[in-house]
Amino acid sequence: MAVFDEISELLQKGRTPKVKEAVQAALDSGENAKDILEKGLLSGMDVIGAKFKNNEIFVPEVLLAARAMNAGVEVLKPHLIAEGVESKGTAVIGTVKGDLHDIGKNLVKMMLEGKGITAIDLGVDVTPERFVEAAEENNADIICCSALLTTTMGIMADVVELAKAKKLRAKVMVGGAPITQEFSNTIGADGYTPDAASASDMAIAFCEK
């Protein structure tokens, strides 16, 4: 439908004020919030995700699209609640203890939200205990650990161990510039992806299981 395509296009171009206007206009014309979310906003983020994986667009475009998406979702929020639209799953996400870099983590968070997953941001410098506690508190489907530094990636092993010891049902996903599949296998994590878009693909697959 044209109205949803327009929202999707505007989102992809990072036109935050226009996305808010178009979302409001769609609501005013009687479209339901769930459709606007899924066919307008999330479908726009799908295109962004695919292009990002293909290196057709880069981090700035993704950040701007995600910002537009968040603005659109804010407009929809009360209506989504009223319609009883449920999230697809819950993830807790953070950068591990000792590491203060957050742009990658923020990107993943935005892409998770772009799939309809509730992403609880624990921030940076997060201890294994805090990851696990937050996962328990929120009945999370996924724990997402991010690191930029080789000096801090070892903490991810501690997160995996603690999650296992506490018998959490949450899957542990790891990512960040120095992380590799080999590292993920070595520490027994449930999943590794090389970028934020494929992280959200893996996360939604975990949520749907």
Binding site: L64, L100, T150, P178
Partner: protein
């Protein structure tokens, strides 16, 4: 001994001084600072430098086959992984990055790292060859974004890119035994002021770099990758190991 060093430009002053004073005969290929941001590129550049030097040896341009190639690098975001040693060994310090090399040991680095979470590290080499988040480079970047995405989006993008600095608590400026620079210290203090970090001077120590170029290679501090072997990541704290090439 003859060594050929492949070094990050960040070491320009310290390594140059140590090489001049060394009993060994040492040549250097300098690679630009910052390749850790594109680690695959770093690996390729190092491999190319090794091949180019061996080519010069074969053609007679260089008169002595080195006893080893020394990398003045650490793991550097996995940039030194996947290097195959050809004909002579490759020696690499078992450190995460250059900071340990400027501090004298990986042990001292990790101690400081773990004790003082949120340290933004600076030194002369970094200030002289890299981007500092306190100068007009940020403004130029913002202007470039504004041209492409508009002013409001540009503001947002710069905020997203720089906001991690708000998470830091300290700025540690590693001083150099070979070069005292009021200008560089002042630049470091400006960064600390701008991002409200506590400024601390950390005395540099060249011991690890000295050991590298003198051939004093304790297996706890250096990986020696022999011909027919390739460097690989190690996850037991030793950072880098050598495994047989396939």
């Amino acid at each position: 001994m003859y060594f050929h060093v492949i070094a990050c430009q960040v070491f320009q002053r310290e390594l140059s001084r140590l090489i001049a004073d060394s009993e060994n005969v040492i040549s250097v290929t300098w690679l630009p600072q910052g390749l850790h941001e594109t680690p695959n590129m770093l690996t390729q550049r190092v491999a190319k430098a090794i091949d180019a030097f061996l080519s010069d040896v074969d053609s007679g341009n260089v008169k002595h086959l080195p006893d080893a190639f020394l990398l003045c690098y650490g793991l550097c975001s996995n940039g030194t992984i996947g290097l195959e040693a050809k004909r002579v060994p490759i020696v690499i310090p078992k450190t995460d990055d250059c900071i340990a090399l400027f501090l004298g040991s990986q042990g001292r680095y990790l101690e400081l790292f773990n004790e003082h979470s949120g340290t933004y590290w600076l030194n002369n080499g970094w200030i002289e060859t890299s981007f500092l988040p306190a100068d007009d480079a940020i403004e130029r970047r913002k202007a470039a974004y504004a041209e492409q995405y508009g002013d409001d989006n540009a503001e947002y993008l710069i905020e997203q890119e720089m906001q991690y600095l708000k998470n830091y608590h300290f700025c540690r400026y590693i001083t150099s035994p070979v070069f005292l620079s009021a200008k560089n210290e002042s630049a470091a203090r400006s960064v600390a002021d701008k991002w409200e970090l506590e400024f601390i001077k950390e005395p540099g120590d060249l011991l690890l770099i000295k050991k590298l170029i003198s051939g004093d290679w304790d297996e706890n501090e250096f990986v020696i990758c022999p011909p027919g072997y390739v460097t690989a990541a190690a996850y037991d704290g030793s950072k880098i190991r050598a495994v047989p090439a396939k």
